[in-house]
Assembly symmetry: C2
Homo-oligomer: 608 residues x 2
Amino acid sequence: MFSLRRLLVGEPLETERIATERLTIFKALAVFSSDALSSVAYATEEVLLVLVLAGPLALVYGLPVAFAIAALFFIVTFSYRQTVFAYPSGGGSYIVAKDNLGLIPGLTAGAALLIDYVMTVAVSVSSGIAAITSAVPVLHEHRVALGLLAVAILVIGNLRGVRESGNLFSLPTYFFIGSILFMNAVGLFKWITGGLATLPPPEFMSTETLAPLTLFLVLRAFAGGCAALTGVEAISNGIQAFFEPVSRNAARTLVWMAVIAVSMFLGISLLAHAIGVVPLATETVMSQIARGVLGRGILYYIVQTSTMLVLVLAANTSFADFPRLSSILGRDGFLPRQMANRGDRLVFSNGIVFLGVISGALIVLFQGKTHSLIPLYAVGVFLSFTLSQSGMVVHWWRLRHENKKWRVHAAVNGAGALVTAVTFAVIGLTKFARGAWIVLILIPVLVSVFLAIRRHYDMVAQDLRMDLDEKIKPVEHVVVVPIAGIHRAVAQTIAYARSLSDDIRAVHVSMSEEETAKIKAKWEKWDIGIPLEILPSPYRSLTAPLLRYINGLQKKEKTRFVTVIIAEFLPKHWWQRLLHNQSALWLRAMLQWRPNTVIVTVPFHLKH
Amino acid sequence: MFSLRRLLVGEPLETERIATERLTIFKALAVFSSDALSSVAYATEEVLLVLVLAGPLALVYGLPVAFAIAALFFIVTFSYRQTVFAYPSGGGSYIVAKDNLGLIPGLTAGAALLIDYVMTVAVSVSSGIAAITSAVPVLHEHRVALGLLAVAILVIGNLRGVRESGNLFSLPTYFFIGSILFMNAVGLFKWITGGLATLPPPEFMSTETLAPLTLFLVLRAFAGGCAALTGVEAISNGIQAFFEPVSRNAARTLVWMAVIAVSMFLGISLLAHAIGVVPLATETVMSQIARGVLGRGILYYIVQTSTMLVLVLAANTSFADFPRLSSILGRDGFLPRQMANRGDRLVFSNGIVFLGVISGALIVLFQGKTHSLIPLYAVGVFLSFTLSQSGMVVHWWRLRHENKKWRVHAAVNGAGALVTAVTFAVIGLTKFARGAWIVLILIPVLVSVFLAIRRHYDMVAQDLRMDLDEKIKPVEHVVVVPIAGIHRAVAQTIAYARSLSDDIRAVHVSMSEEETAKIKAKWEKWDIGIPLEILPSPYRSLTAPLLRYINGLQKKEKTRFVTVIIAEFLPKHWWQRLLHNQSALWLRAMLQWRPNTVIVTVPFHLKH
């Protein structure tokens, strides 16, 4: 087992080797933007999927919705641009909200972010697999298995520790940006010159009752498309990875990211409109556009491949973010402390494995369907946006005496907070029944769990607190050795017991009179100077008479330690263990909640 | 948990209360025959199910096959009648085969019987549920759940210990015998007087390609019907439950059982022929006959209910037989010794639970279909018949000087051995591909497992053997206390360690230099007279540096015992355990295979 682990994960690394790579703007854009950029692969589709409920003609509303989302994108970008300057050491939503709004908003943002990271993995992987299965339809029915495989690869890669991340990310990200912008350019050119053929309309189920085209439906379409904004905050978390001046470089990267993402998104939305794409179950909107613009040649496959790669990278960013946030929460005592332990390879292994298991479970549960996962996704993202931006408003207000321009800053973040809050409300309402309710319940539940964990740690610390002037009080001690037969293992156990204490009580729990008489006779013949006490057990229980006996020993003196020593047979092969009574395990389970009672098992290694 | 167990299973019973109820012939017939008698509920159906493959006209061969099975039944009965006299203390196949043919044949019979008992539960319960679902078709789709419920009730009932078994069994068994014989009588009367209407033929899939009516098909039908013989040997196992003269009373009961079973079976087969029953998937043959003879009134429901009850009783007999045989095999060292332990209520609890789990799994696996389970059933039964009867032949030959009539006896058992061996071969061949192969592989596998277990116990006994003149050699002993912080739990652990030994080594596994400096300073301030050794851990592992340290301690003197003492936090609620490092568990797992190394966990009870 251990060698398999070594093979997959690699040799352990020394603690000293923790280091942060510094990134140029070019590389940083690749590392931090894959999540935000890759969302364009499914955002347009989410908009159209809602509108098509009111019939193919309603798809025309896709364009105004896309422009509204683009506007939102820029507002949020400029809002975050300020965070980048205000928190040059990294301003994740948890930190900003906790610093400025207090503990509960901070933990709420933390809970929303943890959910967001899990969803990013599930959504990005599902969507990346959809890019592949659109191109190779026979793989469609294997999408869950392929998704799990992708998650497994991400877990193993991240347990190893992904070092040269700048180089690793640059190629696929720019490959993706390049191929999408190229597709958009070709498509728009053909459209303007009239060379763009519309796709043949698929057999549309005209018999289906259509939903009326209400404002609610349009808002729902908008809410779906807001998935495009996920990942915008990534740069504000990772400012320390930039070259000096960190804030300026980070801000510049942020704006570049917004420009690229929005132009890709608007281009795709325009082309979808131009070609007359209708969303399908087995082929993504992106794939239909690529097919319509580029034909089914090599260029089409390049677009699909680059889409899949960038989506897997986007999932990969969560494998850095989730463990980092949960280690911070663990260090602060809101999650189990183990989350803050660095594993063999200096990464937070517990968080990585946990993220892999949960997101894998989501992929199975939602059958790898991006569309079913989306309602759970954006709601958490926009809650953390809102909390983070509101925190920034408070931040500027606090600095009102030092910073003259505080009103302008506060206004920008206030605008950000306002639009993200409204969007959060829209998403929460329009997607409530489709899954958003799960997240809206889960967030307060997680916050209470965080608080309960912290309360426990605080109380334990109080229980354990000790004055260093207190010296150690000696304890009284009795050793009990249960005897089931007289043989080598018992001899070894008694030798061990003698090296511990002079007060040894050998007891035999008697289940059959015959057996007891035999053991008594042998014991007397052995004659080792310890009397053998017989504990009758009319109900054939080993533990009950022993428990009574220990009670008796501790009756007079409650603080007296009782140590029960038993031999544990360790056969050569694990299966042989089933052939021996697991009295040690059983006794331990029965006695572990008793104060001042210790079960010691002395291993006796069988040669066979 | 324990109170739930008490509620279900009852208060523990004292060992003294083991007692055997003596049974009159009337009650004994009920107790020991439910298995054999109840088989008639599905035996006819098994015959017809095979014949119908060659078309409805082939069903006419059902009658000669039934007569052949009836003849076989009597031959086996008379063969077993001799076992009853020769083994008045109980002659199960395992004992008879082991005594007369040797260890391997004995174990083979034992393995076949264990499989047989498991199959009896699965087949009888499935068939009993089929009786109910035939009467109430809406329950058909819930048959697996109903089957598992029946098994659960049997397990709980048997864990309680079914005491007044004579009375418990008499009512349903005679109720069944009465209702079937009544149905047969009415049916035959109506047939002779011409008042018996044939059932309307069901929509038969005439388009299906029919199998040719070969000798092989007829033999397969015969093999299926041989399920009627299962349970014939039950009386020979339980002779001690009869009043004196035990053998005479047992023999009389055996013959009565054969007469009743064969008349029920032949009656049902005749009526099936007369009415023109065609086997169906959702209604049993018995139910069709009852419907045809008695109409769909109260009498029909009485037949179905009594059938269900007797089948559940038949399953119940296995819950006595399986644990008893496995306790004998456990006592002889061929199965884990724990199988021979009597539980709280004086029953062999491990065997009961094991039987329940395995038979429940079979019901799920075969979807509660009696017909799919049958091929696995009869093959083991007939192997154990053959071995037992062959053993009896050897038995008479050994007695050839004492018993003048040995030739007659040997001839009867020889005839029994011959026909059961032929039947075994027929079943093995005709049902091989349908599942009998599983049993034919499983039996030798089980025998090798028995032998491997026995070999292990023999070797362990050899390892443990000790001369009582050998006195105990004193052992050298070092106590190691790993220190992760300085607090109350550590103080308690050191107090405990001091009461054990004067040679205490406090060690700190250093994962971070900061942390270590703090602990060192605190330790010096505490000043308890024990030096603190620092073990560097560049790879952040707790166990590796500790293991190295222990290696160092044992280098000079390999027999020196090293005891590692660590505090184990026991919080108030189980879930809080997840919030503490399970170092104790981890260390135990890593060090348990090391000789002369003991891990002691001193419980520290947290107040919160």
